[in-house]
């Protein structure tokens, strides 16, 4: 009897420990095919630890954020969620609803390994780390269509100045010099690319980092506004809304080029275009190859359940491990946050990006330097500038100075 009882007890103990797989809800906005494949890498790795990734995908950054905040406000937080690198989660950290993962960061040695360090710094408050950065996306790319230029009979430009100079030839051939979607974020994105690529880094940092209005209103920045004016002229007939419709114009040779982030790579691959043959990618517009390091990071709300907390720890730890970084970033088309891994399977443009990363030719993304409110105002300003030919570069610069003056 005693033997049987202890046997039963032993088996029960076994089943109980096997059933210790914790469900952890992870919320993100990676909903398209390519993104889903990337997220799957994280999920696979997490499920391999014996836990269960419960996927909560909501499309669109703003919608996802509103749902995230509602859940936290409603007292039913998820296990982990995605935000962009930067100041978006600032208030949540201040409100104390996010978990301090400095212990994990220290145990894994993130501070020595995350490149650039600004990624971690963006979510470090009072010396405590609150996020796990997972990738780097950069904006400073000019994508050019070889077909468009050969149709117009000119060489493919190698930098911004040549690009502007080749515009009349393209127009004569009935080709749109520059494609741009009519949405504020794309237009202000282009502006920020000019800021990063056409000026020395110090100027960029003093405007966005120090919020120096004198520099913002000065002659250097005026050059950038001139470039924006040129872009406005070149993209005047670009009657598309979405960024990928604009990329499509470049892919099909109907437009000469587009300023867009590295995620445009995916469109070219899906359409079967070959880098170097059908299209070229110029980081930093070919002029001043610097990449801004935007991207995504995961944050972890404060939870009460011990099993869930353990699961959070496991998730945070694995996200920056070399294998997961390689697997995830290859599928996502972004650059890894670790400087010490091998991504030779990456394509041509990504290799260029990796090279720049290794050289440290980097700038923090505006998301890290200014609040979403300021970003939103800048988006609105450039949305207006690009669609209103009567707004002069000087006017726009004045309004820009006002926005910087009010930024905190």
């Amino acid at each position: 009897m005693k033997v049987i009882r202890s046997l039963i007890a032993a088996t029960t103990a076994l089943t109980v420990s096997a059933a210790n797989a914790t469900d952890l809800e992870v919320m993100h906005w990676w909903t398209s095919g390519g993104e889903a494949a990337a997220v799957n890498e994280f999920a696979k790795a997490f499920n391999a630890t014996g836990n269960n990734w419960v996927d909560a995908a909501i499309v669109g950054g703003e919608q996802a954020r509103s749902v995230m905040v509602s859940r936290i406000l409603g007292g039913d937080p998820m296990g982990a969620f995605q935000f962009n690198h930067g100041r978006q989660a600032e208030e949540l950290i201040e409100a104390g609803v996010l978990r301090d993962i400095t212990d994990i960061a220290e145990a894994e040695g993130w501070t020595s390994m995350v490149n650039p360090p600004s990624l971690l710094a963006a979510c470090t408050v009072d010396g405590r780390v609150y996020c796990a950065p997972v990738n780097i996306h950069s904006w400073q790319w000019l994508w050019l269509s070889h077909k468009a230029y050969s149709d117009a009979g000119v060489d493919v430009p190698a930098n911004w100045d040549e690009f502007v100079a080749a515009a009349p030839a393209l127009e004569k051939a009935g080709i749109l010099p520059m494609a741009m979607g009519q949405q504020g974020w794309q237009q202000s994105g282009a502006f920020n690319v000019f800021m990063a690529s056409l000026l020395p880094s110090e100027v960029f940092m003093s405007v966005y980092g120090d919020k120096d209005t004198a520099v913002a209103g000065g002659a250097d920045v005026a050059k950038v506004f001139k470039a924006a004016s040129d872009a406005r002229e070149m993209a005047a007939n670009s009657t598309v809304q979405n960024w990928n419709d604009a990329t499509n114009l470049v892919i099909t040779g109907k437009a000469g080029g587009q300023i867009m982030g590295d995620w445009a790579q995916g469109e070219f691959s899906v359409a079967g275009s070959v880098a170097g043959k059908d299209y070229s990618c110029l980081p930093g517009l070919g002029s001043n190859p610097r990449l801004s390091t935007g991207g995504d990071a995961f944050y972890f709300p404060v939870l009460k359940d011990a099993a869930q907390i353990k699961a959070q720890t496991e998730l945070a730890t694995l996200m920056l491990k070399p294998d997961t970084q390689v697997a995830f970033n290859l599928k996502k088309g972004s650059l890894p946050v670790r400087g010490d891994i091998d991504l030779s399977a990456a394509n041509d443009c990504m290799q260029k990006g990796l090279g720049l990363l290794a050289d440290g030719a980097l700038l923090p993304d505006t998301n890290m330097l200014v609040t979403p409110d300021t970003n939103s105002q800048i988006n609105d300003l450039f949305g207006q500038f690009f669609t209103d030919p009567s707004m002069s570069a000087a006017d726009a610069q004045k309004q820009f100075v006002d926005i910087i003056a009010n930024a905190d």
């Binding site: 703003e62 919608q63 954020r65 509103s66 905040v69 406000l73 978006q88 600032e90 208030e91 949540l92 409100a95 009519q182 949405q183 504020g184 009657t239 598309v240 809304q241 609040t371 979403p372 409110d373 970003n375 939103s376 105002q377 609105d380 949305g383 207006q384 500038f385 690009f386 669609t387 209103d388």
Partner: protein
């Protein structure tokens, strides 16, 4: 009646108990929620609601922001045009279909089906149809009219009318059906009497039929106006507020402020202004409606 119950609270007791959900909703949700919104519009709330008072600063910024002013203007233009056109088209279609046409079911379904489709994709489809590269303009040009221009969505001045076309398409079906039902409720005797009296058809409609349909008109008016004030999804799907900010509307301003700019205080200030406007319109109407006698409707 028992004399021990003079208290007005107990009269119609069952009715009051049955109306408890309505009372609770009205008080806690609508009044309470609005009070909460107004309160926090005087704070510097960012992503989370915070009680950091800043007085009228949010309102100050609101009225100095071009985007808000454009949004209000757009809402006025869109609203007035929508109201007039919806009622006109809805009523005319209803009157036409009421003439005992064959295939009534088909016509009615074709006109009503847009109401079932969510804005998310219909906005996109209209964006395509109104696109000069591959939409209507190109088709007509291909047919021979070389100089035909129909490009509202990329013209800041008239982009809002492009949105109007899509909004009308989506909502007029409901108005038509509401009007049709109202028409069907008119006694045939009325028509016969009018015909005997020799009143022309159009006069019958305007002077006799429409006044008889007052309840239906009021219901429809509330539904249409509420939809206009809240218009958001359509704008986002079709133009994202563009080109530039020329198709911004208040509801989008609120949403963008709250979730994109992560500036709740600003969003609440904007919605308080919207709610204020609604109050200014609804209260006089309510006094008119309910200040009168029983059976007013």
């Amino acid at each position: 009646m028992a004399s021990g119950r003079p208290n007005f609270l107990f009269r119609n007791k069952t009715a009051k108990i049955a109306a408890i959900p309505m009372i609770l909703t009205a008080l806690f949700v609508f009044v309470g929620g609005t009070a909460w919104t107004v309160t926090y519009s005087f704070t510097k709330s960012g992503l989370l609601p915070k009680l950091k008072w800043v007085g009228f600063a949010q309102y100050d910024r609101l009225w100095n922001t071009k985007k808000w002013l454009v949004a209000i203007e757009n809402l006025a233009i869109y609203g007035i045009c929508m109201l007039i056109l919806m009622f006109l088209i809805g009523f005319i279609l209803a009157a036409l279909i009421d003439q005992k046409v064959r295939f009534e079911n088909t016509f009615r379904t074709v006109i009503l089906y847009p109401y079932a489709m969510s804005f998310v994709v219909t906005g996109l489809v209209w964006q395509w149809i109104l696109n000069p590269e591959f939409g209507l303009e190109r088709i007509v040009r291909d047919l021979g009219w070389e100089s035909f221009e129909f490009n509202p969505l990329y013209n800041s001045e008239i982009a809002i009318f492009g949105v109007l076309i899509a909004g009308l398409w989506q909502g007029s079906g409901l108005v038509m059906v509401l009007m049709l039902a109202g028409l069907r409720g008119i006694d045939q005797e009325i028509w016969k009497a009018a015909r005997i009296d020799g009143i022309p058809t159009w006069k019958t409609y305007i002077l006799i039929i429409i006044p008889m349909m007052r309840p239906v008109f009021i219901t429809t008016l509330v539904i249409v106006t509420a939809g206009i004030v809240k218009v958001y999804d359509l704008i986002v799907a079709q133009t994202s507020g563009g080109p530039g900010i020329s198709t911004e509307v208040p509801a989008k301003y609120v949403y963008d402020a709250m979730f994109t700019a992560q500036n709740l205080g600003q969003g609440f200030a904007a919605s308080t202004m919207m709610l204020l406007t609604v109050v200014i319109v609804v209260i006089p109407w309510a006094i008119l409606e309910f200040g009168g006698t029983k059976k007013s409707v």
